[in-house]
Symmetry: C2
Subunit: 219 residues, 2 copies
Protein backbone atom coordinates (compact mmCIF):
# COMPACT_ATOMS: atom_id res chain seq x y z
CA UNK A 1 0.00 0.00 0.00
CA UNK A 2 0.88 3.71 -0.27
CA UNK A 3 1.54 5.27 3.13
CA UNK A 4 2.32 8.62 4.72
CA UNK A 5 4.39 8.52 7.93
CA UNK A 6 4.41 11.50 10.30
CA UNK A 7 8.09 11.76 11.19
CA UNK A 8 9.34 14.02 13.98
CA UNK A 9 12.87 12.68 13.87
CA UNK A 10 12.45 11.28 17.37
CA UNK A 11 12.80 7.69 18.50
CA UNK A 12 9.18 6.54 18.05
CA UNK A 13 8.39 7.98 14.64
CA UNK A 14 11.80 7.01 13.22
CA UNK A 15 11.20 3.41 14.32
CA UNK A 16 7.78 3.63 12.70
CA UNK A 17 9.31 4.86 9.44
CA UNK A 18 11.68 1.86 9.38
CA UNK A 19 8.71 -0.39 10.20
CA UNK A 20 6.53 0.88 7.35
CA UNK A 21 9.41 0.71 4.86
CA UNK A 22 10.26 -2.83 6.04
CA UNK A 23 6.64 -3.75 5.39
CA UNK A 24 7.20 -2.90 1.72
CA UNK A 25 4.86 0.11 1.62
CA UNK A 26 5.40 2.87 -0.91
CA UNK A 27 6.35 5.33 1.85
CA UNK A 28 6.20 9.13 2.06
CA UNK A 29 7.41 11.01 5.14
CA UNK A 30 6.00 14.26 6.47
CA UNK A 31 7.61 16.44 9.15
CA UNK A 32 6.49 19.66 10.79
CA UNK A 33 8.42 22.70 11.88
CA UNK A 34 6.01 24.25 14.37
CA UNK A 35 8.52 26.51 16.10
CA UNK A 36 9.72 23.78 18.48
CA UNK A 37 12.94 24.57 20.39
CA UNK A 38 14.29 21.18 19.44
CA UNK A 39 14.00 21.68 15.68
CA UNK A 40 17.32 19.78 15.42
CA UNK A 41 15.05 16.71 15.42
CA UNK A 42 14.18 17.69 11.84
CA UNK A 43 17.82 17.17 10.76
CA UNK A 44 17.52 13.63 12.08
CA UNK A 45 14.31 13.20 10.08
CA UNK A 46 16.16 14.30 6.92
CA UNK A 47 18.99 11.84 7.60
CA UNK A 48 16.64 8.89 8.07
CA UNK A 49 14.70 9.67 4.90
CA UNK A 50 17.94 9.94 2.92
CA UNK A 51 19.18 6.60 4.25
CA UNK A 52 15.87 4.93 3.39
CA UNK A 53 15.35 6.82 0.10
CA UNK A 54 11.93 8.00 1.27
CA UNK A 55 10.45 11.20 -0.26
CA UNK A 56 10.19 13.78 2.53
CA UNK A 57 8.24 16.99 2.92
CA UNK A 58 8.88 19.37 5.82
CA UNK A 59 5.94 21.68 6.42
CA UNK A 60 6.66 25.05 7.97
CA UNK A 61 4.03 25.89 10.57
CA UNK A 62 6.27 28.44 12.28
CA UNK A 63 4.04 31.46 11.67
CA UNK A 64 0.93 29.46 12.53
CA UNK A 65 2.56 28.28 15.74
CA UNK A 66 3.49 31.82 16.73
CA UNK A 67 0.04 33.23 16.04
CA UNK A 68 -2.16 30.44 17.26
CA UNK A 69 -0.46 27.89 19.48
CA UNK A 70 1.02 29.58 22.49
CA UNK A 71 1.42 28.49 26.09
CA UNK A 72 3.70 25.50 25.61
CA UNK A 73 7.30 25.29 26.85
CA UNK A 74 8.18 23.72 23.50
CA UNK A 75 7.22 26.78 21.47
CA UNK A 76 7.64 29.77 23.82
CA UNK A 77 9.87 31.29 26.47
CA UNK A 78 8.60 29.07 29.28
CA UNK A 79 11.45 26.89 30.69
CA UNK A 80 11.42 23.21 29.68
CA UNK A 81 10.70 21.31 32.91
CA UNK A 82 13.14 18.63 34.13
CA UNK A 83 12.49 15.27 35.75
CA UNK A 84 10.05 12.42 35.24
CA UNK A 85 7.85 12.33 32.17
CA UNK A 86 4.78 11.69 34.32
CA UNK A 87 5.10 14.79 36.50
CA UNK A 88 2.40 17.43 36.39
CA UNK A 89 4.93 20.00 35.17
CA UNK A 90 5.44 18.07 31.93
CA UNK A 91 1.97 19.20 30.92
CA UNK A 92 3.70 22.48 30.13
CA UNK A 93 5.11 20.74 27.06
CA UNK A 94 1.69 20.12 25.54
CA UNK A 95 1.41 22.09 22.27
CA UNK A 96 -2.27 22.96 21.82
CA UNK A 97 -3.90 20.36 19.58
CA UNK A 98 -0.59 19.50 17.91
CA UNK A 99 -1.54 15.99 16.94
CA UNK A 100 -4.92 16.79 15.38
CA UNK A 101 -3.23 19.55 13.37
CA UNK A 102 -0.45 17.26 12.15
CA UNK A 103 -2.86 14.40 11.44
CA UNK A 104 -5.27 16.62 9.51
CA UNK A 105 -2.46 17.95 7.32
CA UNK A 106 -1.03 14.45 6.82
CA UNK A 107 -4.48 13.22 5.80
CA UNK A 108 -4.88 16.14 3.38
CA UNK A 109 -1.51 15.16 1.89
CA UNK A 110 -2.57 11.50 1.75
CA UNK A 111 -5.77 12.45 -0.11
CA UNK A 112 -3.72 14.60 -2.52
CA UNK A 113 -1.31 11.80 -3.43
CA UNK A 114 -4.02 9.10 -3.18
CA UNK A 115 -2.27 7.27 -0.34
CA UNK A 116 -4.17 4.60 1.59
CA UNK A 117 -2.89 5.21 5.09
CA UNK A 118 -1.41 7.70 7.53
CA UNK A 119 0.88 6.35 10.26
CA UNK A 120 1.75 8.06 13.53
CA UNK A 121 3.79 6.95 16.48
CA UNK A 122 1.56 7.59 19.50
CA UNK A 123 2.48 5.08 22.21
CA UNK A 124 1.35 3.96 25.65
CA UNK A 125 3.92 6.08 27.52
CA UNK A 126 2.45 9.31 26.18
CA UNK A 127 -1.07 8.80 27.46
CA UNK A 128 -0.69 10.34 30.91
CA UNK A 129 0.71 13.64 29.66
CA UNK A 130 -0.62 14.21 26.17
CA UNK A 131 -4.39 14.19 25.80
CA UNK A 132 -3.97 13.81 22.06
CA UNK A 133 -2.06 10.55 22.41
CA UNK A 134 -4.83 8.82 24.38
CA UNK A 135 -6.48 5.76 22.88
CA UNK A 136 -9.91 7.39 22.84
CA UNK A 137 -8.48 10.36 20.95
CA UNK A 138 -6.78 8.10 18.41
CA UNK A 139 -9.94 6.03 17.92
CA UNK A 140 -12.01 9.19 17.37
CA UNK A 141 -9.39 10.44 14.89
CA UNK A 142 -9.50 7.12 13.05
CA UNK A 143 -13.24 7.51 12.63
CA UNK A 144 -13.16 11.09 11.39
CA UNK A 145 -10.21 10.39 9.06
CA UNK A 146 -12.27 7.79 7.21
CA UNK A 147 -15.07 10.33 6.71
CA UNK A 148 -13.16 13.39 5.55
CA UNK A 149 -12.95 12.62 1.84
CA UNK A 150 -14.48 10.45 -0.87
CA UNK A 151 -11.02 8.89 -1.22
CA UNK A 152 -10.83 6.90 2.01
CA UNK A 153 -7.68 7.20 4.11
CA UNK A 154 -7.06 5.02 7.15
CA UNK A 155 -5.18 6.20 10.24
CA UNK A 156 -2.77 3.72 11.85
CA UNK A 157 -1.09 4.03 15.26
CA UNK A 158 0.54 0.61 15.59
CA UNK A 159 2.52 1.47 18.76
CA UNK A 160 -0.50 2.53 20.79
CA UNK A 161 -0.20 -0.45 23.15
CA UNK A 162 3.62 -0.44 23.30
CA UNK A 163 5.82 1.59 25.60
CA UNK A 164 9.05 3.26 24.52
CA UNK A 165 11.11 0.31 25.77
CA UNK A 166 9.13 -2.06 23.52
CA UNK A 167 9.67 0.33 20.61
CA UNK A 168 13.46 0.42 21.14
CA UNK A 169 13.53 -3.36 21.34
CA UNK A 170 11.58 -3.68 18.10
CA UNK A 171 13.78 -1.07 16.45
CA UNK A 172 17.04 -2.73 17.43
CA UNK A 173 16.09 -6.41 17.19
CA UNK A 174 13.76 -6.47 14.16
CA UNK A 175 14.47 -3.34 12.16
CA UNK A 176 18.10 -2.34 12.75
CA UNK A 177 17.21 1.30 13.39
CA UNK A 178 20.38 3.42 13.85
CA UNK A 179 19.23 5.36 16.93
CA UNK A 180 22.15 7.78 16.61
CA UNK A 181 19.96 9.30 13.84
CA UNK A 182 17.19 10.24 16.30
CA UNK A 183 16.73 13.27 18.54
CA UNK A 184 14.70 13.25 21.73
CA UNK A 185 15.81 16.08 24.05
CA UNK A 186 13.29 18.90 24.38
CA UNK A 187 15.94 21.54 25.11
CA UNK A 188 17.41 21.55 21.61
CA UNK A 189 21.02 22.34 22.61
CA UNK A 190 24.04 20.81 20.84
CA UNK A 191 23.92 17.65 22.98
CA UNK A 192 20.97 15.99 24.71
CA UNK A 193 20.63 17.32 28.26
CA UNK A 194 19.88 13.94 29.86
CA UNK A 195 17.61 15.65 32.39
CA UNK A 196 14.40 16.83 30.73
CA UNK A 197 11.36 14.58 30.83
CA UNK A 198 11.91 13.48 27.28
CA UNK A 199 15.58 12.49 27.85
CA UNK A 200 14.61 10.73 31.09
CA UNK A 201 12.00 8.68 29.27
CA UNK A 202 14.42 7.80 26.47
CA UNK A 203 17.12 6.68 28.90
CA UNK A 204 14.59 4.54 30.75
CA UNK A 205 13.47 2.97 27.47
CA UNK A 206 17.01 1.92 26.51
CA UNK A 207 17.60 0.64 30.05
CA UNK A 208 14.42 -1.42 29.87
CA UNK A 209 15.45 -2.78 26.48
CA UNK A 210 18.90 -3.63 27.89
CA UNK A 211 20.58 -1.71 25.05
CA UNK A 212 23.08 1.15 25.21
CA UNK A 213 21.77 4.45 23.83
CA UNK A 214 24.22 5.40 21.03
CA UNK A 215 23.83 9.20 21.46
CA UNK A 216 26.02 11.40 23.67
CA UNK A 217 24.57 13.18 26.71
CA UNK A 218 25.66 16.28 28.56
CA UNK A 219 25.15 14.52 31.91
CA UNK B 1 -18.97 32.20 26.67
CA UNK B 2 -15.71 32.71 24.78
CA UNK B 3 -15.94 31.58 21.16
CA UNK B 4 -13.80 31.22 18.06
CA UNK B 5 -15.61 31.58 14.71
CA UNK B 6 -14.05 30.23 11.52
CA UNK B 7 -14.70 33.03 9.05
CA UNK B 8 -14.12 32.63 5.33
CA UNK B 9 -15.73 35.95 4.44
CA UNK B 10 -18.48 34.10 2.58
CA UNK B 11 -22.20 34.26 3.22
CA UNK B 12 -22.55 31.38 5.71
CA UNK B 13 -19.63 32.10 8.01
CA UNK B 14 -20.30 35.86 8.02
CA UNK B 15 -23.90 35.19 9.10
CA UNK B 16 -22.52 32.88 11.77
CA UNK B 17 -20.17 35.61 13.02
CA UNK B 18 -23.10 38.02 13.39
CA UNK B 19 -25.07 35.24 15.12
CA UNK B 20 -22.37 34.49 17.70
CA UNK B 21 -21.78 38.20 18.39
CA UNK B 22 -25.56 38.76 18.74
CA UNK B 23 -25.60 35.94 21.29
CA UNK B 24 -23.27 38.04 23.47
CA UNK B 25 -20.26 35.72 23.19
CA UNK B 26 -16.74 37.07 23.62
CA UNK B 27 -15.95 36.41 19.96
CA UNK B 28 -12.66 35.81 18.11
CA UNK B 29 -12.55 35.27 14.35
CA UNK B 30 -10.09 33.10 12.47
CA UNK B 31 -9.59 33.09 8.69
CA UNK B 32 -7.34 31.02 6.45
CA UNK B 33 -5.41 31.91 3.36
CA UNK B 34 -4.83 28.50 1.81
CA UNK B 35 -3.94 29.71 -1.68
CA UNK B 36 -7.59 29.94 -2.80
CA UNK B 37 -8.18 31.84 -6.05
CA UNK B 38 -10.92 33.80 -4.39
CA UNK B 39 -8.75 35.23 -1.60
CA UNK B 40 -10.76 38.46 -2.00
CA UNK B 41 -13.15 36.75 0.43
CA UNK B 42 -10.57 37.54 3.11
CA UNK B 43 -11.02 41.29 2.54
CA UNK B 44 -14.69 40.78 3.29
CA UNK B 45 -13.75 38.91 6.46
CA UNK B 46 -11.61 41.87 7.57
CA UNK B 47 -14.46 44.32 6.89
CA UNK B 48 -16.97 42.31 8.94
CA UNK B 49 -14.60 41.97 11.88
CA UNK B 50 -13.90 45.70 11.84
CA UNK B 51 -17.62 46.52 11.78
CA UNK B 52 -18.26 44.16 14.69
CA UNK B 53 -15.03 45.01 16.60
CA UNK B 54 -14.07 41.34 16.67
CA UNK B 55 -10.36 40.43 17.03
CA UNK B 56 -9.32 38.65 13.84
CA UNK B 57 -6.38 36.43 12.95
CA UNK B 58 -5.67 35.42 9.34
CA UNK B 59 -3.51 32.33 9.14
CA UNK B 60 -1.33 31.92 6.07
CA UNK B 61 -1.40 28.33 4.89
CA UNK B 62 -0.22 29.26 1.39
CA UNK B 63 3.02 27.27 1.49
CA UNK B 64 1.28 24.33 3.14
CA UNK B 65 -1.42 24.41 0.49
CA UNK B 66 1.14 24.43 -2.30
CA UNK B 67 3.15 21.57 -0.88
CA UNK B 68 0.43 19.33 0.45
CA UNK B 69 -3.04 20.08 -0.85
CA UNK B 70 -3.13 19.84 -4.60
CA UNK B 71 -5.75 18.65 -7.06
CA UNK B 72 -8.50 21.18 -6.33
CA UNK B 73 -9.70 23.82 -8.80
CA UNK B 74 -9.71 26.29 -5.90
CA UNK B 75 -5.96 26.06 -5.34
CA UNK B 76 -4.46 25.05 -8.68
CA UNK B 77 -4.60 25.66 -12.42
CA UNK B 78 -7.66 23.46 -12.96
CA UNK B 79 -10.58 25.55 -14.32
CA UNK B 80 -13.37 26.37 -11.86
CA UNK B 81 -16.42 24.44 -13.12
CA UNK B 82 -19.65 26.30 -13.93
CA UNK B 83 -23.26 25.32 -13.35
CA UNK B 84 -25.20 23.68 -10.57
CA UNK B 85 -23.61 23.16 -7.19
CA UNK B 86 -24.72 19.53 -7.14
CA UNK B 87 -23.03 18.49 -10.35
CA UNK B 88 -20.28 15.89 -10.29
CA UNK B 89 -17.81 18.44 -11.68
CA UNK B 90 -18.14 20.57 -8.52
CA UNK B 91 -16.20 17.86 -6.72
CA UNK B 92 -13.18 19.42 -8.41
CA UNK B 93 -13.53 22.24 -5.89
CA UNK B 94 -12.93 19.97 -2.88
CA UNK B 95 -9.67 21.03 -1.17
CA UNK B 96 -8.21 17.90 0.44
CA UNK B 97 -9.28 17.75 4.08
CA UNK B 98 -9.73 21.52 4.26
CA UNK B 99 -12.28 21.48 7.05
CA UNK B 100 -10.40 19.12 9.38
CA UNK B 101 -7.30 21.27 8.91
CA UNK B 102 -9.14 24.51 9.65
CA UNK B 103 -11.03 22.99 12.58
CA UNK B 104 -7.87 21.53 14.12
CA UNK B 105 -6.10 24.89 13.93
CA UNK B 106 -9.15 26.71 15.28
CA UNK B 107 -9.32 24.27 18.17
CA UNK B 108 -5.59 24.74 18.87
CA UNK B 109 -6.23 28.48 18.96
CA UNK B 110 -9.27 27.97 21.22
CA UNK B 111 -7.16 25.91 23.64
CA UNK B 112 -4.45 28.61 23.59
CA UNK B 113 -6.83 31.44 24.49
CA UNK B 114 -8.98 29.20 26.74
CA UNK B 115 -12.10 29.61 24.62
CA UNK B 116 -15.07 27.32 25.22
CA UNK B 117 -16.28 26.79 21.69
CA UNK B 118 -15.38 26.72 18.01
CA UNK B 119 -18.10 27.64 15.49
CA UNK B 120 -18.19 26.75 11.83
CA UNK B 121 -20.75 27.31 9.13
CA UNK B 122 -21.26 23.89 7.53
CA UNK B 123 -24.82 23.71 6.19
CA UNK B 124 -27.20 21.26 4.57
CA UNK B 125 -26.51 22.46 1.01
CA UNK B 126 -22.87 21.44 1.22
CA UNK B 127 -23.44 17.80 2.05
CA UNK B 128 -23.68 16.40 -1.46
CA UNK B 129 -20.36 17.88 -2.65
CA UNK B 130 -18.12 18.24 0.36
CA UNK B 131 -17.47 15.07 2.35
CA UNK B 132 -16.18 17.20 5.22
CA UNK B 133 -19.47 19.06 5.58
CA UNK B 134 -21.52 15.89 6.10
CA UNK B 135 -23.33 15.42 9.38
CA UNK B 136 -21.41 12.24 10.22
CA UNK B 137 -18.13 14.09 9.67
CA UNK B 138 -19.22 16.97 11.89
CA UNK B 139 -20.39 14.60 14.62
CA UNK B 140 -17.07 12.72 14.54
CA UNK B 141 -15.20 16.04 14.69
CA UNK B 142 -17.30 17.12 17.66
CA UNK B 143 -16.25 13.97 19.50
CA UNK B 144 -12.54 14.25 18.77
CA UNK B 145 -12.52 17.99 19.55
CA UNK B 146 -13.71 17.29 23.09
CA UNK B 147 -10.86 14.80 23.57
CA UNK B 148 -7.89 16.70 22.21
CA UNK B 149 -6.93 18.66 25.30
CA UNK B 150 -7.42 18.76 29.07
CA UNK B 151 -9.10 22.13 28.48
CA UNK B 152 -12.34 21.03 26.83
CA UNK B 153 -13.44 22.80 23.67
CA UNK B 154 -16.82 22.18 22.05
CA UNK B 155 -17.42 22.31 18.31
CA UNK B 156 -20.66 23.95 17.13
CA UNK B 157 -22.13 23.84 13.62
CA UNK B 158 -25.52 25.46 14.20
CA UNK B 159 -26.45 25.68 10.48
CA UNK B 160 -26.03 21.97 9.80
CA UNK B 161 -29.77 21.47 9.20
CA UNK B 162 -30.34 24.76 7.38
CA UNK B 163 -29.86 25.45 3.68
CA UNK B 164 -28.34 28.65 2.30
CA UNK B 165 -31.79 30.18 1.78
CA UNK B 166 -32.60 29.69 5.48
CA UNK B 167 -29.26 31.27 6.38
CA UNK B 168 -29.92 34.35 4.23
CA UNK B 169 -33.35 34.70 5.79
CA UNK B 170 -31.92 34.49 9.28
CA UNK B 171 -29.15 36.94 8.37
CA UNK B 172 -31.51 39.54 6.91
CA UNK B 173 -34.52 39.17 9.23
CA UNK B 174 -32.90 38.51 12.61
CA UNK B 175 -29.33 39.74 12.40
CA UNK B 176 -29.19 42.57 9.85
CA UNK B 177 -26.14 41.14 8.09
CA UNK B 178 -24.89 43.50 5.35
CA UNK B 179 -24.41 40.90 2.61
CA UNK B 180 -22.52 43.37 0.44
CA UNK B 181 -19.64 42.56 2.84
CA UNK B 182 -19.55 38.89 1.76
CA UNK B 183 -17.82 37.17 -1.15
CA UNK B 184 -19.00 33.90 -2.67
CA UNK B 185 -17.70 33.55 -6.25
CA UNK B 186 -15.02 30.89 -6.68
CA UNK B 187 -13.37 32.64 -9.62
CA UNK B 188 -11.99 35.54 -7.62
CA UNK B 189 -12.22 38.18 -10.38
CA UNK B 190 -13.19 41.81 -9.65
CA UNK B 191 -16.92 41.04 -9.80
CA UNK B 192 -18.76 37.82 -9.04
CA UNK B 193 -19.14 35.76 -12.23
CA UNK B 194 -22.75 34.70 -11.55
CA UNK B 195 -22.09 31.37 -13.26
CA UNK B 196 -19.85 29.17 -11.09
CA UNK B 197 -21.50 26.66 -8.78
CA UNK B 198 -20.91 28.87 -5.78
CA UNK B 199 -22.54 31.96 -7.41
CA UNK B 200 -25.43 29.80 -8.66
CA UNK B 201 -26.07 28.52 -5.14
CA UNK B 202 -25.91 32.04 -3.68
CA UNK B 203 -28.36 33.43 -6.23
CA UNK B 204 -30.76 30.55 -5.55
CA UNK B 205 -30.51 31.23 -1.80
CA UNK B 206 -31.47 34.90 -2.19
CA UNK B 207 -34.27 33.93 -4.55
CA UNK B 208 -35.59 31.40 -2.04
CA UNK B 209 -35.40 34.01 0.71
CA UNK B 210 -37.25 36.50 -1.54
CA UNK B 211 -34.50 39.08 -0.99
CA UNK B 212 -32.38 40.92 -3.54
CA UNK B 213 -28.65 40.08 -3.42
CA UNK B 214 -26.88 43.43 -2.80
CA UNK B 215 -23.67 42.51 -4.69
CA UNK B 216 -23.02 43.21 -8.39
CA UNK B 217 -22.62 40.36 -10.89
CA UNK B 218 -20.86 40.16 -14.23
CA UNK B 219 -23.84 38.36 -15.75
Amino acid sequence: MKSVVILSGGLDSTTLLYDVVANGDETYALSFNYGQRHSCELKCAVTSCQKLSVPHVIVDLGQVGKELLQGSALTSDIDVPEGSYEAESMKLTVVPNRNMIMLSLATGYAVSIKADGVFYGAHAGDHAIYPDCRKEFVKAMQKVTKLCDWHQVELFAPYLDMDKGDIVMRGVMDLGVPYEDTWTCYKGLTRACGKCGSCTERLEAFEKAGIKDPIAYDQ
